[in-house]
Symmetry: C2
Subunit: 438 residues, 2 copies
């Protein structure tokens, strides 16, 4: 039987999960492919410690030098799981130069240097697969590349960061403030300490960049993706959202506008009835609309050793099947044989048109609402509903509004003017509403 020799670089959480899947389900995987997947070499700087998995690699396949396996002519496929940018990129490029297929889970690398890697895979006629880079165990890359391949993708809305979703879930269900929810997430192992790239939207934006590149057939400039995190969300805003029938989620949004696309990551309100609103805890989900398939949702665990290992192994199996079939050319990394020639232009956030939630903090004197509403009206922002609570004490009060669709630039100017009013006591909270489009 054909053997596919695999080398794994990076034996951390995901590396261990990958090895565990390949070992535990060895026979089943062999039967599915019709070929044997052999882990011939594992490289890691730490080859001593136990990874907490029930299976352990034989001592002799471990090495501290990644080049040992990249340069090994018997290895067909290299799995890059070291993370980070520079070293990982060098490993992948060198492996491709040596004619090896590559599987990676490195979302930051793909988001920031994807174009280079996709080109290199093409030039060397090798496969490059990265199902594990987005949504952990959810096979969303496969769905976009294959299952939805007849569709023009119109909308992608994802809950792509499990840590943020866990934090927002705790804030929603238990009324915890942000800092306390973060502490809990760190304590339970759902978050790094501090979880900066999770809560500031960077991680979700990396994943969104990868989704966009597949959905629209071209790498995208990562820095053009607007991003904001969840740090500014308070339990008060979550409660007001609930009164309006919404939940607050960190959403990663891409929409086809024809000549350009929207691409943005920020906390947003979505209707409580929308299926994404009920994705809680550390789960991820991606909602896709295609021109023929209509609405589709994919849901599962977005991180963790086992789900991510499952995704890495699905890529290994996919490439192994192509190798076994004697394919002369492999499915291109983005699923587009003829890549889009023009790049993808991302609309500036100032041109976004969406409904908004505003929470104003103001002194409780007559005429305040009228002054705020007046400024909004000057900027052609029309209000769809208002909540003004009776005051509890002497302090400032909250005035909460939902608007109809308005332009971001107008919203920013209006809020900037309102925040300068003498009756306004604190910076206005602005949360976009993902409404009409879902």
């Amino acid at each position: 039987m054909l053997k596919i020799n695999v080398g794994i670089i990076g034996f951390g959480t995901v590396g261990a999960g990958t090895f565990e899947v390949l070992t535990t389900n060895r026979k089943l995987i062999r039967d599915r492919i019709g070929a044997e997947v052999v882990v011939k070499r594992i490289a890691d700087l730490d080859i001593e410690s136990d990874r907490g998995i029930p299976v352990r690699p034989a001592r002799e396949i471990l090495t501290m030098d990644a080049m040992d396996l990249i340069d090994d002519p018997e290895i067909d496929l290299v799995v890059e799981l070291v993370g980070g940018l520079d070293r990982a990129r060098e490993f992948i490029l060198r492996a491709m130069e040596k004619g090896k297929h590559v599987v990676t889970a490195n979302k930051a690398l793909l988001a920031e240097h994807g174009a280079l890697l996709y080109r290199s895979a093409r030039e060397h006629g090798v496969g490059l697969a990265f199902e594990a880079s987005v949504g952990g165990g959810i096979p969303i890359i496969g769905a976009l590349k294959n299952g939805l391949s007849g569709n023009r993708i119109q909308t992608c809305v994802g809950i792509l960061n499990g840590t943020s979703n866990y934090i927002l879930t705790k804030m929603t269900q238990e009324g915890l403030p942000f800092d306390r929810a973060v502490d809990q997430a760190v304590h339970l192992g759902f978050a790094e300490d501090p979880p900066t790239l999770d809560v500031d939207g960077t991680d979700a934006a990396h994943k969104l960049a990868i989704i966009i590149s597949i959905a629209f057939g071209s790498p995208v400039s990562f820095n053009r993706i607007y991003r904001e995190g969840i740090v500014a969300v308070t339990p008060d805003d979550i409660r007001y959202a609930d009164e309006f029938g919404y939940r607050v989620k960190l959403l990663a949004i891409a929409k086809d506008l024809g000549d350009k696309i929207e691409a943005r990551v920020h906390s947003a309100m979505i209707s409580r009835d929308h299926i994404l609103a009920n994705v809680n805890e550390a789960f991820n989900a991606i909602y896709i609309e295609g021109d023929f398939v209509g609405p589709n949702l994919y849901y599962g665990l977005g991180a963790g050793r086992r789900p991510t290992g499952s995704a890495v192994v699905s890529d290994i199996i996919g490439l192994a099947r192509e190798i076994k079939a004697g394919a002369r050319e492999l499915t291109p990394p983005l699923g587009h044989a003829l890549p889009r020639e023009e790049g993808i232009e991302i609309q500036a956030i100032e041109d976004l048109i969406t409904p908004y939630y505003f929470r104003f903090s103001a002194v409780d004197t007559p005429g305040v609402l009228s002054r705020i509403a007046g400024i909004l009206s000057e900027h052609r922002i029309s209000i769809s509903s208002v909540i003004q609570k009776g005051r509890k004490s002497e302090g400032p009060v909250s005035i909460v509004m939902l608007t109809h669709e308005a332009r971001e630039s107008a919203a920013q100017k209006a809020i900037s003017a309102i925040d300068k009013l003498d009756v306004v006591t604190d910076k206005t909270v602005v949360i976009r509403v993902e409404g009409n489009s879902l």
Copy 2:
């Protein structure tokens, strides 16, 4: 550029949808594959009527004779969309004999004669793909064959029949009785008139058979799948379910028990908090648990010209990519290169162990509950909660119970004994609870 010539047999709803996708997104599909998909011939007994699609095939590619395209040596790939069993099977087998790849949406044929077709595809070295046979536009076949391919599949629970789900949604949200909800579904075009195979569980069982064959790597005897429909569900049961925190859904369930599997379709109660409970209207969803990936959910429109056309075209693109890559062998229909040698044994329904919902109709006299509970206890069925409403009038009352896990054979015997009691006025309603396992 390479051309892949396609022949479509059957130009009804799905055939028209397939043609519409291929025509509307021609350029995008070409760029994704790197080859041109050309619809060279369409066969249908009716080549006159307008299909209500915005694009129309050129007159000269239409034929009334399917053999015209099956025997055409220039056609690479045949799409079978005539439905039914005998004719469709002959078309597919003959096309394969002629060395053509086949795409079909024919769930009844695959469920009942899949083994024959899979063998024939293997013998003739052609591809056979059927994403559209389950879940309409949801790429669930692809997820099982590819995205989850590293996993032992443990559990599949699907809402696979949009008509039943629509009917149950209306019964739940508007309190309509079954017959009225059916009328509404027929009136709005969500159901055939009468929708027998939809509401009796046959359609969902066909789809479950296909899911099982891919998840477990072997065709299954369709007749061994237990099936019950939704005809016996009443608005009363839906209301009681709600009081217990459940929703009533027509579920198609498969579970790996190690030496055998559970395979059953019936109306069932699931927790209101479960993500499947919130799949409403004509939507479908499939919940999958794999040993590494954990829980996964796939959601979308389960029927209709456009979503089903999307799925058929994804199969055409997948096969076209394999042809273009020069694959010597195509991905086997079930995704298993070495098929499971032993067949799949299905557990008899009598051996099922699950919690139950019982609704007893009885005269309102003292001691009734004690007699019913006594019989349940004799059969070692223990009660977890009871609702007994005060009577509204002179008539019989409902006594509603949830049980702990019990064996189906015991439940059947107990209910049969209870239904013979002189105080019991009507046949007891039994609904299985899909509880602990989700």
